[in-house]
Amino acid sequence: MAAHLSYGRVNLNILREVARKDLREFLDKCAGSKAIVWDEYLTGPFGLIAQYSLLKEHEVEKMFTLKSGRVPPADVKNIIFFVRPRLELMDIIAENVFRSVFVSRFQAPQFLTIFSPSFLLQECYLENDQTSLYHTAKGLINLQALYGTIPQIYGKGECARHVANMMLRMKREFAGSQNQILPVFDTLLLLDRNVDLLTPLATQLTYEGLIDEIYGITNGYVKLPPEKFAQKKQGEASKDLPTEPKKLQLNSAEELYAEIRDKNFNAVGAALSKKAKIISAAFEGRHNAKTVGEIKQFVSQLPHMQAARSSLANHTSIAELIKDITTSEAFFDNLTVEQEFMTGVETDKVNPYIEDCIAQKDPLIKILRLVCMQSVCNNGLKQKVFDYYKREILQTYGYEHILTLNNLEKASLLKPQTSSRNNYPTIRKTLKLWLEDANEQNPNDISYVYSGYAPLSVRLTQVLARPGWRSIEEVLKMLPGPHFEERQQLPAGLHKKRQQGENRTTLVFFLGGVTYAEIAALRFLSQMEDSGMEYIIATTKLLNGTTWIKSLMDRPESQIS
């Protein structure tokens, strides 16, 4: 069912299985029939580990979403709440419980509350809530219990330092129980999102990245406009177009998707047409099947071929949808400005394109994304430019956005220049963040994921593997937060004896979120023949510029336009 998780070097299916087992055992602990009240945000993540059928097998009869008021009546013995531990949810639960008990005092069911925390940059930098760091450290300790102690820890950024410190401390506290598992990971790299604010602001140009930018991927699913998927069946063309969005699951279990997800979008068309030729050739094969044996073999392959064909049809439709957008003038203009900023062109002036966009009342998030990008690429905006943007935004979108702008300042995404020195060009040159003529079809560098810009976070990862961070001391000092290296003692006998040519494995943990394009870049590094390094990615959240800025906005729901 989730076979794609077990292919890699590190068998991630273990994690999923353990989670499922835990859930089953947990459900069995409450004997009798149950109803589950869900925190809406959790249904998605839980869907990754269990389907309704699993819950049903364990006597879950009803499911509700958490709302204030009363839990709908259900004739069950247990009512279980699955929620994130957020203060505002607690009051709702209290109300739920109170109201239900009040109404049915004689058959009051058991109430159970389950918490499952989350981690957002918003919490960490806006509200300065560090709980998530503690949970991350704890998670990593648990991960080490499954996959062995990780001998080397590197990190960059304030939060990374905290997490590493906590991990080491927890480790000391458990000193008695030595972990006897042969380590799967050689290195852990903790990267604080704060170190690389630029990457998420840029428009991702990989296939998967673009799907996320345009339609948004949540828990591996995407909802698409149905029009392009409509006229699938011949003869039914006259039927009304479906109005429900088309929901598709996206993961590497789908052969074709695994192949194209990390490609630059400009290379997707070629890959799709190549695939189309292969599939039609396979279907043509039926004419060559002469003997009964051959026909039988052909028929046995049919289901696989059918699946491949429908997968091809789906992705061709998605690619068409995306292409409509990427070929539009607006998309091109936007990208041009982004690339100007990333290459350091006139980042210290008011940008006429941004000005025009404000005058046209383009969506505020788009404006903020660009302005923040300019600020980040210029190490803060000149006071005059900063004030100008601020005034224009407030006048056009409403003065109440002063609150949002303030949030962005707190997250240092948008700030007035404090020192006259702009060190972004030095960082860009030293880390080779911009490459002219990135090869999109047959990439030879990670910069292909943004058609020229190499994500800073991934570049740091790459340099760490070779030649090592010592070569970039100066740049590391320019980036916010400390950088560090720690070693964890392994029990004797667990030191890996490395075969000649065997890859090392690094777990890269993005604290505060990661984009699909960064993931693609890391996968690309793993696949490079001479990298000698395999990367496994962990994060607290998947994000893109839009969702990221939105999470930092004050009352984003009132700003959909």
Partner: protein
């Protein structure tokens, strides 16, 4: 360690933590009886735990669960005592069975069934006071925090002196577990006077932000504002939060008055001018809206409302309905431009859009006209003429109007593209003539209508021997 039955009875009767109601019966007696029964059941659980010494109970996701306090399970706890802290966890009577080791995804990457501490600071206290056989009272602040993180029983009450409390606070901040920090803060909030609490929090930024967050979530607006006023004047949190309040006021007059009251707050200089502008805008919107509603009664077409709209939207409205008013009125576009220091470009785009919408082409024309010192008029725009054409075209301007502006586009190639797009043949033809591009002109001949004036014009040009074609 063990207390006699009588002692316990005593304790419960004297305890100030009486809010331990598990039943929805209101009367005091049954509540107490119930509590006592439960306490007894706790004790046997605790003892059971003690017997096993090091064997920790582990819940479904690998988190050690102490059998009594902060358990994952909450039974129906009625919330009758509203003056208390919310959420009264009840001791789980169905104990979670032992040692289900294992790990869940959520515990790996996100955390675990924690948060038990998060809201229920009071429960920490209550639990600790009734389960005293489980704790040794001389835990250091670090140990206490550590136990809290593991979900074990602790007593915060023994941190009596201010110094002890602060040590406790500092060590939980060092542990970075927000749930524990919040729990300790709730304890401090209950046991310290506001002044002392605020004073001590000021240098402790992490703890301070946790308390701010907690108060925000629990909507304790009054204390929150007090806290911010004391600690955050210089970082402007307080001012912004106060300002934010206006969003929840529906009535426009009240909202305006509230904004006015914000003017006296010590904002940063830039923000202060924005808030001032916001108030001025709101004030005008109310005036304009009232006068226009009165005037409108005769009109058929309903105008859009401008209350609470951004400044530029308001300007656009005034350009639509109050364009020619003298600068002295509140609704005059020029007055608005002056008052709010709207940039030339913004004003221009807005006015252009509004006048074009009304098809008032003479107004549009006037916007561009400027006289130089010799008295000649020429067209000037703070905006690229390409954008001007764009805006006009969006408002379905006729070709005659469009071509005036297409002709003003400086870049020849861009001019041709635009002219072709908007079918301004004359401009295309003239541009090719100026470029002396015979081939293109010849090609364009096929695109104009046969026998039309344009075709004739092209023919004339092509036959004109005086032009030195480049190709």
């Amino acid at each position: 360690m063990m207390k006699s039955k009588a002692d316990e009875e005593d304790y419960w009767n004297s305890s100030k933590f009486k809010a331990f109601t598990f039943d929805d019966e209101d009367d005091e007696f049954s509540t107490l009886k119930e509590s006592k029964r439960t306490v007894n059941s706790i004790r046997c659980l605790v003892e059971e735990d003690d017997d096993k010494e090091e064997v920790e109970k582990v819940s479904w996701n690998g988190e050690p669960v102490s059998s009594n306090s902060w358990s994952v399970s909450e039974t129906a706890a009625s919330n009758q005592r509203a003056e208390r802290e919310p959420a009264f966890p009840k001791i789980n009577t169905v104990t979670i069975s032992k040692s289900h080791s294992g790990y869940s995804l959520s515990s790996l990457f996100k955390g675990e069934t924690d948060g038990k501490v998060s809201l229920t600071g009071s429960s920490v206290l209550m639990m600790s006071s009734c389960c005293d056989q489980d704790y040794v009272s001389d835990w250091s602040p670090e140990e206490t925090v550590h136990r809290m993180q593991q979900g074990k029983v602790v007593s915060l009450e023994k941190f009596r002196s201010l110094q002890d409390k602060l040590l406790l606070l500092d060590s939980c901040v060092a542990a970075h577990d927000g749930n524990v920090i919040t729990a300790v803060l709730i304890y401090l909030k209950r046991t310290l006077s506001k002044e002392v609490l605020f004073r001590e929090l000021e240098p402790r930024q992490t703890a301070l932000s946790h308390l701010i967050h907690y108060l925000t979530e629990t909507r304790d607006q009054r204390l929150l504002l007090e806290l911010l006023r004391y600690t955050c004047l210089t970082c402007f949190c307080f001012q912004l939060l106060q300002y934010k309040e206006h969003l929840s006021i529906a009535d426009e007059n009240k909202r305006r008055d509230f904004l006015k009251s914000c003017l006296s707050l010590p904002f940063s200089p830039e923000d202060s001018s924005h808030v001032q502008d916001h108030y001025t805008l709101m004030e005008r919107q109310v005036i304009i809206e009232t006068t226009d509603r009165r005037a409108e009664r005769g009109e058929k077409v309903e105008r859009a409302l401008i209350l609470n709209m951004p400044l530029i939207t308001t300007l656009s409205y005034c350009c639509l309905y109050h364009y020619s008013e003298s600068e002295g009125t509140f609704s005059s576009p020029l007055n608005i431009r002056q008052t709010f220091k709207i940039s030339e470009k913004q004003f221009f785009v807005t006015a252009l859009g509004a006048r074009a919408k009304l098809k008032a082409w003479s107004d549009v024309d006037a916007l561009f006209t400027s006289r130089n010192w010799l008295g000649f008029t020429r067209k000037k725009s703070p905006l690229g003429f390409q954008r001007v054409v764009d805006i006009l075209q969006k408002n379905s301007a006729p070709t005659q109007v469009l071509q005036d502006y297409v002709a003003l586009v400086d870049d020849a190639e861009l001019r041709i593209t635009l002219a072709q797009k908007h079918k301004c043949h004359d401009i295309v033809i003239n541009t090719y003539r100026d470029l002396k591009d015979r081939q293109q002109l010849l090609g364009y001949r096929g695109k104009v209508e046969r026998g039309s004036g344009e075709e004739r014009k092209i023919d004339e040009l092509l036959n004109n021997l005086q032009i030195r074609w480049k190709n």
